[in-house]
């Protein structure tokens, strides 16, 4: 059954202080627009006829859709327009209500985290345009759009082309819940400030869904000690201490730091980990929440994150089923020769 394809673009991704400290790349919005255009080309070829998009403050999705007038029915979903993370959360909820069959997200780990706060089991095709990109994938947008399009248009079932991701759910005493896809980190810093998590000597603990030595970010700290993949049905907990022995890890793009690791252990799904303030909690690389003295937060890992479409698996299935094969009428072929 054909469903709309969702699009959520974070106009603010790839622009924060990490450009300075971590030599991260600048992602300008013209390029994001170009990525959406190319993804839409793939999606149209894969059979998508209806697109729902989150209207972003920079008009990226809207302007990218302009050239598809007549080919696509495009609809802006209602979402808050605050030029903040709230837009992504609200937009995700709206796309969920429209029952999108697949959603293209453009951003980094932070963007996808925000999206999943609004729609936790969303069928995602996350294209990386962020700073830290452990969760989203580096993929040519044309094919990303085609893979997402095959799922949205009903040519492929979500369950055959996608896997459910792990996630960390966070209960904060007396306040709203929170969520992380890759890592939740406890730091001795006191303020959310410029958000970026770059002060290695301030880190106290980290809970990782993935510990990937081949990625940049907090995930690399665990990855260089005890790799945990997305397929493993458990997470990794690290006790961090600047005095302890540790690893020289790329905690952000372009930035290696020595992180003291006092202890590490596997964490089973559902096992609660409690954190007490004062501290700042960082999720997926960005400082997000400040806990007051004595305030508690409980973190749990489970495989209850979004569905993530696997582009190569989707395209292989498309090939096996001949979804892009074209048969020409024999008469026409003879005429041509």
């Amino acid at each position: 059954m054909a469903k709309p394809l969702g699009i959520a673009v974070n106009p603010a991704s790839g622009k924060d202080i990490r450009r300075l400290v971590a030599r991260a790349s600048v992602f300008d919005n013209q390029e994001k627009r170009a990525i959406v255009r190319r993804a839409l080309v793939g999606a149209v070829e894969a059979g998508v006829r209806e697109v729902c998009y989150v209207p972003d403050s920079h008009g990226i999705a809207r302007s990218a859709l302009e050239e598809f007038e007549g080919k696509l029915h495009a609809e802006a979903v209602a979402s808050p327009q605050t030029s903040s993370v709230i837009d992504t959360v609200g937009g995700a909820r709206a796309l969920a209500e429209r029952d999108c069959g697949a959603v293209l997200t453009l951003g980094g780990d932070g963007t996808n985290r925000a999206f999943c706060i609004g729609w936790q089991d969303a069928p995602l095709l996350p294209i990386s345009t962020g700073t830290n990109n452990v969760f989203p994938i580096l993929v040519e947008a044309t094919l990303g759009g085609a893979a997402a399009g095959l799922v949205a248009s009903g040519h492929l079932k979500l369950s055959e082309a996608a896997d459910r991701a792990k996630a960390i759910t966070v209960k904060v005493e007396g306040e709203r819940d929170d969520f992380a896809l890759i890592d939740a980190v406890v730091t001795r810093e006191r303020f959310v400030g410029s958000r970026a998590l770059l002060a290695g000597d301030m880190l106290k603990a980290a809970l990782l869904t993935r510990a990937d030595p081949a990625s940049a970010g907090m995930t690399s700290i665990g990855g260089l000690i005890k790799p945990v993949s997305e397929e493993d049905d458990y997470g990794l907990y690290l006790e961090l201490d600047p005095q302890a022995d540790g690893v020289n890890a790329p905690i952000a793009p372009g930035l290696y730091q020595i992180i003291g690791v006092a202890a590490h252990r596997r964490v089973a799904f559902g096992k609660p980990i409690t954190v007490t303030g004062p501290c700042v909690l960082a999720f997926d690389g960005e400082r997000e929440r400040a806990l007051k003295p004595g305030q508690k937060a409980t973190l749990r890992i489970a495989r209850d994150g979004p569905w993530v479409i696997d582009v190569s698996r989707a395209m292989r299935l498309a090939a096996e089923r001949g979804l892009f094969r074209i048969k020409r009428a024999r008469k026409a072929r003879r005429k041509a020769s």
């Binding site: 106009p11 603010a12 622009k15 924060d16 202080i17 450009r19 300075l20 400290v21 971590a22 030599r23 600048v26 300008d28 919005n29 013209q30 403050s57 920079h58 605050t82 030029s83 810093e189 006191r190 303020f191 959310v192 400030g193 410029s194 958000r195 970026a196 770059l198 002060a199 290695g200 000597d201 301030m202 260089l224 000690i225 600047p242 302890a244 022995d245 540790g246 690893v247 020289n248 890890a249 372009g254 930035l255 290696y256 730091q257 020595i258 003291g260 690791v261 004062p278 400040a290 007051k292 003295p293």
Partner: protein
């Protein structure tokens, strides 16, 4: 020299974390860590990490912000009551930017400012007496009554003047940055300007030259969403002025301009880059002008909705930092009230000083057109 083999042994070596302060896990010498950097940890690379604001710094930033707010509120009243001549462009709403950047600067570092420049002077250390006296056009003013609100300056604290020309200060700051590099100092220059000024040729020429010569310059774009009365989406096709940095070969960063701590952290990196000879940075601070382009009216304006103003006022930069300081137990509500009261009294005393001080002697009209050798 052949690199040491990367094998299981070296990996274990790294894993045990037994490499030394001076050498990494492969036996290569580490880059020295800058000893003067606040809380610089032992790091693998050569980059400083995010600057952590200490309690003293946070209180200093807060004080600067409150000083700006109160100076401007009282200046606005003076203008409304016809006490001061001319037009005042008030900085209320944007305090986090000036305070967050200036907390990193010394008197020997220079800044250029805009027509909305009082906040920069106050944050750089300008005194209320001389500032109000200048607004009154008095001889005791910083410019001896010759400049007024839009040219207020203080060379002794490195304040190269507010500027009546949009974008006018940017090439001057670039020149000051050039001078700092030429004289082989560790000083930096910062230029404050708005989203509107980023459309002026002066911005583009100065940005290009600053990047070309790797000058110690911080281009601080205070994007308050309006070029005078024109909304940003009516004056440029981009939303993030920081996107323009790439075109000049310098880093561009977007930061929440209502959050002084965020500005402080980002500016700290930009200033450190400049002092280290790594060149200029374009730092875009998203902020908002609570008042009109000129004067104190904030609501009921034809070019923006009251709802928009209200939404931004929810994130009043002074309210934000005070909440955080109280939450962290750095200061009490009572002490904050006392700070406001003390600064308000200082402002009132300065206004009295300005009112009581004499006007410039009309016979001295031609003084200061030229420098005359003594």
């Amino acid at each position: 020299m052949a690199a040491p083999a990367i094998g299981s042994m070296t990996f274990r070596y790294a894993f045990r974390g037994s490499f030394t302060d001076t050498h990494d896990c492969f036996g290569y010498a580490r880059h020295p860590v800058r000893p003067d950097h606040p809380k610089s940890p032992e790091i693998g690379g050569d980059k400083p990490v995010t600057i952590q604001a200490t309690d003293a710094v946070l209180l200093d930033i807060h004080e600067r912000m409150v000083r700006i707010r109160i100076f401007e509120e009282e200046a606005g009243k003076l203008m409304e009551n016809g006490k001061v001549p001319g037009a005042l462009h008030l900085y209320v709403g944007q305090e986090a930017v000036a305070a967050g950047v200036m907390a990193h600067l010394e008197d020997s570092d220079h800044i250029t400012s805009t027509h909305r420049g009082h906040g920069h002077v106050v944050a750089k250390g300008g005194q209320f007496n001389e500032m109000y006296a200048e607004l009154y056009g008095k001889a005791a003013g910083y410019c001896k009554g010759r400049g007024g609100s839009m040219h207020i300056c203080n060379m002794e604290i490195g304040m190269l003047g507010a500027n009546g020309i949009v974008g006018g200060g940017i090439p001057i700051a670039m020149g000051a940055a050039f001078s700092k590099k030429f004289r082989k100092t560790k000083e930096v220059a910062a230029s404050f300007f708005g989203d509107g000024a980023s459309n002026e040729g002066s911005f583009h020429e100065a940005a290009n030259m600053a990047a070309l010569y790797k000058l110690p310059l911080i281009l601080v774009c205070e994007n308050n969403g309006f070029g005078e009365y024109t909304r940003q989406d009516n004056h440029q096709a981009i939303v993030d002025v920081a996107d323009r940095a790439a075109g000049y070969g310098m880093p561009g960063v977007v930061v929440d301009g209502m959050d002084a701590i965020a500005v402080y952290e980002a500016a700290g990196e930009a200033v450190a880059r400049a002092r280290n000879g790594e060149g200029p940075t374009l730092l875009e601070c998203k902020t908002y002008r609570f008042y009109d382009h000129v004067g104190v009216r904030g609501m009921g304006l034809s070019y923006r909705t009251d709802e928009e103003v209200d939404a931004w006022k929810q994130r009043d930069p002074i309210k934000l930092i005070e909440e955080k300081l109280i939450e962290q137990g750095i200061i009490t509500k009572r002490k904050i009230s006392a700070i406001h009261k003390r600064i308000r009294e200082e402002a009132m005393a300065a206004i009295k000083f300005a009112e009581d001080s004499p006007l410039p002697d009309p016979d001295g009209l031609l003084e200061d057109v030229y420098y005359v050798q003594a």
